[in-house]
C-alpha cells in the first residue's frame, strides 16, 4: 500500500455503542497534536451522511442496537466499518452480560478490527489506514 493508493481524504464518524470511554478518548487523542491524523486528511464529522468510515466502539448494549443499525444505514456507500477495541470485537470482559447484543459483527459487516483495551492511537491510525486502502480498492473495482 503506497501513499498514491490514497487518493481522497477520509471522513470518519464515531459511534459509541456502550463503550467505557477508554477507546473514545484514544480516538480523540489520535486527532490532537501528538498524533494529529488531520494531517492525512482524516477528519471526524458530525453526521454519518458525510462519512466514509464508521468507527464503532463498545460491546453494543441493548439500547444502542437499533441506533447503531440506523447509523449504519444512513452512511452512504461505499462505506467501511472499523471496530475499535476488544469490546466491539468480542464483547471483552462483558461477554456474559444480560444487556449486551454485540459483538458488532453480529449486527453489521465489519472490515477492520483494532484490538487492545483500549488500543493505542497508533493502532487506531493503522486500522483506519488499512480501511482506507480497502476503500480505494473497492472504488477501483467499480
Amino acid at each position: 500500500m503506497g501513499i498514491d493508493a490514497l487518493k481522497r481524504s477520509l471522513w470518519v464518524f464515531h459511534v459509541n455503542a456502550g463503550s467505557c470511554n477508554g477507546c473514545d478518548i484514544e480516538i480523540v487523542a489520535a486527532l490532537t497534536p501528538r498524533y494529529d491524523v488531520e494531517r492525512f486528511g482524516i477528519k471526524l464529522v458530525g453526521t454519518p451522511r458525510h462519512a466514509d468510515v464508521l468507527l464503532v466502539t463498545g460491546p453494543v448494549t441493548r439500547q444502542m442496537k437499533d441506533k447503531l443499525l440506523r447509523v449504519y444505514e444512513q452512511t452512504p456507500e461505499p462505506k467501511l466499518v472499523v471496530v475499535v477495541g476488544n469490546c466491539g470485537s468480542t464483547c471483552g470482559v462483558f461477554y456474559e452480560s444480560y444487556n449486551i447484543e454485540g459483538p458488532v459483527d453480529k449486527l453489521i459487516p465489519v472490515d477492520v478490527y483494532v484490538h487492545g483495551c483500549p488500543p493505542r492511537p497508533e493502532a487506531i491510525i493503522e486500522g483506519i489506514a488499512k480501511a482506507w486502502a480497502k476503500l480505494e480498492k473497492t472504488k477501483v473495482k467499480k
Partner: protein, 425 residues
C-alpha cells in the same frame, strides 16, 4: 400618523403576546449527537431561545457490570471495575479494593497507600486537562482543546512508564498495588510535575484573562450554594458553588490523612464564587495545581516497605473465600464522590456489588442549571459538570410501559395485604 401609532399596543405587551403565542418546541439531543461524546438523551423544551424544561434519559451505556461482578471472583472483578469508566479507571478499582479490604479486614502496607495516592492524583490531572479541552471545544475554542490535549500526553507518558499502559492501568490489587515506583521513575514524575507547574501558569493566563472564555461561560448555568446542597451535588461541581466538600478532606482514605488537604473553591484564584460555568472551569484548573502539590508531597514522604499485603494470588483468593461481611468505600474521583459497596458471603464471588458514581449525583443539578438558559449554551453547560455516562449508567428500564408509579405501587401493596389476610384466615 400620530393616531395610528397610538392605537398600536406597547412594544413590551407585543413581546409578551408573541411569547405567549409561541409554541413550545421539544428538541431531542442524542443519543448519537455531535455535541455529545457519550450516548445520553437530553430532551430540551424551548420557548424561543430559552430552555423551559429538560428531560434526561439514561441507560444507553448500561452493561450490567454489577451483575457480572457477582459471577466472578474478586480478582477477576477488579478488571471489570477498571472498565466501568475509561477516564476514571484508577478510582473505580481503588474503591472496589478498599471496599473488599474493609469487608475482609485486610491491612494495606503504608507504601502502597502512598502509591495509590500518586496514581489517583496523576489520574486527576489527566481527567481535568481532558475536561478543560472538552469545555473549550464546546465553546468553539479548538486551539485550547489541542493545547490541553497536547499537554495531557505528558501525564499519559508518565502513567505508561509506571504501569505499562496509557489508559487502563491494571495497577490496583486487593491489599495494595501491583508495581512499585523506583527512584529513577520518581525523578521522571518530579520532572513531569515541574512541567505541569508551567502548564498551570499558562492555563491560568488563558482561563483568567481570555475574553472569549469569559464571554461564553460567565453568568450562565448558575448553581447556587443552596441548590448544590439541596441536590447533593458532589466534587468540583459542588465546590465551584462554594460547598466545601471533598472526600479527601472529610473522610480521608489511602495516604490522604497524612497530607494536609483542604477543599478548595474558586475563591482560590477569583475574588468571588458565583457558581456559574466559568467557576466550574476554573475549579478544575485549580485542582490541577492541588494535585501537583499532592504528588510532590507523596514522593517526598513515601516510606519504604512492601507494596502489597498478600503477593500470592491463590492465597489471597482462598482468604477472600472465607470472608463474611460487607464493606463500603468512599473515594474522591476526579468528578466527585464515588461509593462502592461490597457484600461477601463465604463464596467465590461477592454476593452484592453496588456502585454510585459521581455523575449520577451531579445529573440532578443539570436541570436547575439548564432551565432559563439559552439553547446555544446547552452543550457548554452540560459539559461543565463533566458528565461521565459510562460511570452513571447502573440500571435501565427495559419496558417503559411497566413503570411503577405511586398509585400502582400502593395498589400492589394493598393487594398483597389482602392476599396475606386471605391466607391466614
Amino acid at each position: 400618523m400620530k393616531r395610528v401609532h397610538q392605537n398600536l399596543p406597547k412594544i413590551s405587551t407585543m413581546v409578551k403576546r408573541m411569547a405567549d403565542n409561541e409554541k413550545k418546541v421539544n428538541i431531542p439531543i442524542g443519543p448519537i449527537h455531535p455535541a455529545l461524546k457519550e450516548p445520553v438523551q437530553i430532551e430540551v423544551s424551548v420557548s424561543g431561545e430559552r430552555v423551559t424544561d429538560v428531560n434526561i434519559t439514561l441507560g444507553h451505556v448500561h452493561r450490567g457490570i454489577e451483575w457480572v461482578g457477582t459471577r466472578r471472583n474478586p480478582i477477576q472483578t477488579l478488571y471489570i471495575a477498571e472498565r466501568v469508566c475509561g477516564i476514571c479507571n484508577i478510582c473505580h478499582p481503588m474503591a472496589f479494593c478498599i471496599a473488599i479490604e474493609n469487608a475482609a479486614n485486610i491491612a494495606v502496607p503504608e507504601r502502597a497507600e502512598y502509591l495509590r495516592t500518586i496514581f489517583a492524583e496523576l489520574e486527576r490531572i489527566h481527567s481535568h486537562l481532558l475536561f478543560l479541552g472538552v469545555a473549550a471545544h464546546e465553546m468553539g475554542f479548538d486551539s485550547i482543546l489541542h493545547y490541553t490535549w497536547l499537554t495531557r500526553e505528558k501525564v499519559l507518558d508518565v502513567v505508561e512508564m509506571l504501569t505499562g499502559n496509557r489508559i487502563t492501568k491494571g495497577i490496583m490489587m486487593i491489599g495494595g498495588v501491583r508495581r512499585d515506583i523506583s527512584d529513577s521513575q520518581a525523578e521522571k514524575i518530579r520532572a513531569a510535575m515541574d512541567y505541569y507547574e508551567k502548564v498551570y501558569g499558562k492555563m491560568c493566563n488563558i482561563f483568567l484573562d481570555d475574553k472569549t472564555i469569559k464571554m461564553r461561560t460567565r453568568d450562565i448555568g448558575f448553581l447556587s450554594k443552596k441548590d448544590a446542597l439541596r441536590f447533593c451535588a458532589v466534587g468540583p461541581t459542588a465546590r465551584a458553588s462554594g460547598v466545601k466538600k471533598d472526600i479527601r478532606q472529610d473522610y480521608p482514605y489511602a495516604a490522604y490523612p497524612d497530607i494536609d488537604i483542604e477543599a478548595l473553591t474558586p475563591e482560590f484564584l477569583l475574588k468571588e464564587t458565583r457558581g456559574d460555568v466559568y467557576d466550574r472551569v476554573v475549579m478544575r484548573a485549580i485542582e490541577i495545581k492541588q494535585s501537583i502539590d499532592i504528588v510532590r508531597e507523596c514522593l517526598k514522604e513515601m516510606p519504604s516497605g512492601p507494596i502489597v499485603s498478600e503477593p500470592v494470588l491463590q492465597k489471597l483468593l482462598f482468604n477472600l473465600k472465607q470472608v463474611q461481611g460487607e464493606g463500603v468505600a468512599l473515594v474522591e474521583a476526579p468528578r466527585g464522590e464515588l461509593i462502592h459497596y461490597i457484600k461477601m458471603e463465604k463464596a467465590d464471588a461477592p454476593s452484592s456489588w453496588k456502585i454510585r458514581a459521581p455523575t449520577y449525583a451531579n445529573l440532578h443539578v443539570l436541570r436547575t442549571m439548564l432551565i432559563g438558559s439559552e439553547l446555544a449554551d446547552v452543550p457548554v453547560i452540560v459539559a461543565s459538570i463533566d458528565p461521565c455516562m459510562s460511570c452513571a449508567n447502573r440500571a435501565i428500564i427495559a419496558d417503559k410501559g411497566a413503570l411503577l408509579y405511586q398509585e400502582k405501587l400502593r395498589e400492589l401493596c394493598i393487594g398483597k395485604t389482602r392476599r396475606l389476610r386471605g391466607a391466614t384466615k
